[in-house]
């Protein structure tokens, strides 16, 4: 069924047909977004667990953990936390 229009010629957004069209467009956008995310994950060399987290048991996961540990050390995260908590 064609979209109804108002007297001024604009699409009447109050109709069921318009709302159904919007819902279908949103569904389509979500599907594309999921497909893009899956492609991005497949292209990544980092192995992930079922929950999507980096699998830290792999070489890449361990390398990432090591880099994060170095970064925390460089910013003195433990020292800063000790000073903040215990003066």
């Amino acid at each position: 069924m064609a979209l109804q229009r108002t007297a001024s010629g604009r699409v009447d957004k109050r109709t069921k047909e318009y709302k159904v069209m919007c819902a279908n467009l949103a569904k389509g956008r979500r599907k594309v977004a999921r497909q893009n995310a899956a492609l991005k994950r497949a292209a990544s060399s980092v192995k992930r667990t079922k929950s999507g987290k980096v699998d830290k048991r792999t070489a890449e996961g361990k390398a990432i953990a090591a880099r994060m540990a170095k970064a925390r050390r460089a910013k003195g995260s433990l020292s800063n936390r000790l000073k903040r908590l215990f003066g």
Binding site: R48, K50, K53, A63, M68, A69, R72, G76, L78, L85
Partner: protein, 143 residues
């Protein structure tokens, strides 16, 4: 720090053994702990390395006994600082799991910390490390 470095090394070794890995992230964190507590880094690394080899051979009961013995040697006014160091080690891989939470409670209790303090210190750590992930699922799940 008044607490003897060898007891800190033993506690770290217990944590590392219980957590199951002594990799680059853990070694870097030993260095960070040495910086923060004012110990000599090379000495602490060497002691931890030696103790990890030793504790790897021990049963769970022996590890718990070692944990209790070392915790008793921690200076009274340093228990919270030492707990923070253990917290840093347990969470150095960027993920907090259920069994790691159990390890932290065991350490805290051995150090004489109240459960509420253990929770508050852990919550503070989680709050201030935004990249830390919480994993309520089983460890080692694969795709």
């Amino acid at each position: 720090m008044d607490t003897n470095i060898k007891y800190v090394a033993d506690l770290l070794a217990c944590v590392i053994t219980a957590d199951g890995s002594y990799e680059e992230a853990e070694k870097e964190t030993v260095g960070e702990i040495a910086d923060a507590l004012g110990y000599d880094e090379k000495e602490l690394l060497a002691l931890v390395e030696e103790r990890v080899e030793d504790t790897a051979e021990r049963s769970e009961d022996e590890l718990n006994a070692l944990l209790d013995n070392c915790a008793e040697e921690v200076a009274d006014d340093e228990v919270e600082v030492i707990f923070e160091a253990m917290l840093q080690m347990v969470l150095c891989d960027g993920v907090m799991t259920f069994s790691e939470s159990e390890i932290l409670h065991a350490i805290g209790e051995a150090l004489g910390l109240a459960p509420a303090m253990i929770t508050m210190l852990t919550a503070d750590m989680v709050k201030n490390e935004p990249e830390l992930e919480l994993d309520f699922g089983s460890e080692g799940e694969e795709e």
